[in-house]
């Protein structure tokens, strides 16, 4: 394993120390697993919190700031935060109008967040959860743990963040988040496996010339293994899976993200975006806004995910609203 780290055990706390050093506008509390705005909860605003295992940076801590999250709860690498972690996040965000807790749909995340929500309610705090489950690679999801939450998390965090900033109430922000999630679909492909620091070796062996199709963001193998093909063919397959399941129809607008998994050069992501744009053009879908870059990563994995969100009433002004975080910034 080759990584810039001191010890595998101190990886997370050392990375959080660096985050704190780089961003004085954030309050980084490694012990309790919370990254929050240094300025504290915003008077009169609904709180917005998201959390999950670490290793997906900039998600979620890089999205804490004006117009987006109030707090993020980073768990151990690829491990959901404990209830205390989620609870600490809620407390760091709550300004009396309640808190929306964004949870990616993984068994661990759901259970720990649920426990935290109950603990918070015991303490008299109001919490609404928004479950993100956008990954169409999980097919027979009704009989299982359901679909994973991946790229759409960024869309939910951005749009809910803007809604909270303009003063929307608890239920309204949560309902909006659910609408954004319902309008979004993702699919991911990996060229290489990632290496968890404490494991010290890649999660799976992937021969040269083969790729994992339908991977998640925790280094797990995908739905199937295929021969490496051209970007056009790979994107074609990803887009087919997405569009088959998506509410998007010809004539619709979409917000599109081409997301790198941590080890993919930006130039390749732009190349992929070019192919996505071509497919959208063919299907009569207009790309209203886009993000190309590393937003929801899997440590050092080489790979990318594509997320499409159907633009619905009210989404775009909230998308365009000012945001000022380490990883997403415009309009400020």
């Amino acid at each position: 394993m080759k990584k810039f780290l001191n010890t595998p055990e101190s990886y997370l706390s050392d990375a959080l120390a660096g985050l704190a050093a780089a961003h004085p506008e954030l309050r980084v509390d490694a012990e309790n697993g919370v990254v929050a705005r240094a300025s504290g909860p915003v008077e009169g605003k609904v709180g917005l919190v998201s959390g999950g295992g670490s290793g997906h940076e900039p998600l979620h801590s890089g999205f804490v700031g004006e117009g987006m999250l109030d707090a993020a709860c980073p768990g151990e690498v690829f491990t959901s935060p404990v209830p205390d972690g989620f609870l600490a996040g809620v407390k760091a965000a709550d300004a009396g109008r309640g808190t929306v807790l964004i949870v990616k749909n993984y068994t661990g995340d759901v259970m720990n967040a649920q426990m935290a929500a109950e603990l918070a309610e015991d303490e008299g705090l109001r919490v609404e959860q928004v479950l993100v489950n956008d990954d169409v690679a999980v097919e027979d999801s009704t009989f299982t743990a359901g679909r994973r939450g991946t790229g759409a998390t960024v869309f939910v965090e951005k749009i809910c963040g803007a809604a909270a900033a303009r003063g929307d109430g608890l239920e309204a922000v949560a309902e909006l988040g659910r609408r954004v999630n319902a309008a979004s679909r993702s699919f991911a492909v990996a060229l290489t496996a990632c290496t968890v620091p404490t494991a010290g070796r890649p999660g799976f062996d992937l021969p040269e010339e083969e790729i994992e199709v339908g991977v998640g963001i925790h280094g797990e193998p995908g739905r199937r293994r295929e021969k490496l093909r051209s970007a056009r063919e790979i994107v074609g397959e990803m887009m087919e899976a997405i569009l088959q399941d998506s509410p998007l129809e010809s004539g619709d607008e979409a917000v599109v993200m081409v997301n790198g998994m941590g080890g993919t050069p930006l130039s390749e992501l732009y190349l992929v975006f070019g192919e996505v744009a071509r497919v959208c053009g063919d299907k009569g879908i207009t790309i209203a806004r886009n993000l190309v870059g590393d937003y929801v990563t899997s440590l050092d994995m080489e790979g990318c995910s594509i997320t499409l969100c159907r633009v619905e009433e009210g989404f775009l002004p909230l998308w365009d609203a000012p945001v000022n975080t380490p990883a997403l910034r415009w309009g400020v």
């Binding site: 151990e76 661990g108 494991a199 280094g219």
Partner: protein
């Protein structure tokens, strides 16, 4: 041993922590095959914490030891296994009220814990989860209780049943947890949570047999 007292409960936690520590890499490797490769690290972190937490605990019975273990796992592990194992042990511990727990008490307590786990995770036997190891283990304890078997033998039977149950997860397709995302590719691998459950029951047999 005919019953579990405070000391035995603490010994169980310590033995479980030792066993999981020794097998942490193996558990994580099982998890890497069909999950995200952290199950050994998770359980190790939780049980190491629990061992320390119960070590100095003043308790006049096994119940509070298990409750403390469960709560420590909830607040230290995270992931799927933290809430599940935490709930199992916390619920079971709450059911044990006296200074000692006989086989029947233990069976009833673990049954209650298992039911809470199944309620929380919605997993049935056959879904390729830790339930596949715990379910037959609890059944074995119940059977032993009905027959008046001593704890040492009952725990041995439960451990054997758990190990068999864990082994039986290999050919199954996962329907719950992270492994379910792999669909058919989850077939052919032992479920890491079932494996750690078997370690826990084996640790109980070990300390009960003394």
């Amino acid at each position: 041993m005919h019953a579990m007292d405070t000391a035995l409960a603490k010994a169980w936690v310590a033995a479980a922590a030792d066993a999981v520590s020794a097998e942490a890499e193996h558990l994580s490797r099982l998890d890497a095959a069909i999950g995200d490769g952290d199950h050994g690290t998770n359980m190790d972190r939780g049980l190491t914490g629990a061992r320390t937490a119960v070590d100095g605990l003043e308790a006049d019975g096994p119940g509070p030891v298990l409750v403390k273990t469960g709560m420590t796992m909830i607040s230290r592990v995270g992931g799927a296994s933290g809430p599940l194992y935490g709930t199992l042990l916390r619920t079971a511990g709450k059911r044990l009220e006296g200074t000692e727990a006989g086989v029947a008490d233990l069976a009833a307590a673990l049954r209650a814990g298992l039911e809470a786990v199944q309620k929380m995770g919605a997993a049935k036997p056959g879904d390729k989860t830790l339930v596949d190891a715990l379910y037959p283990a609890v059944e074995a304890l119940e059977k032993a209780a009905g027959q008046g078997t001593p704890l040492s033998e009952a725990a041995e039977a439960a451990a054997a049943a758990a190990e068999q149950g864990a082994q039986a997860t290999v050919p199954l397709q996962a329907r719950k947890g992270r492994a379910s995302y792999l669909g058919e590719r989850s077939i052919g691998h032992e479920d890491p949570g079932a494996a750690s459950s078997a370690l826990l029951m084996r640790a109980l047999a070990g300390v009960s047999g003394a």
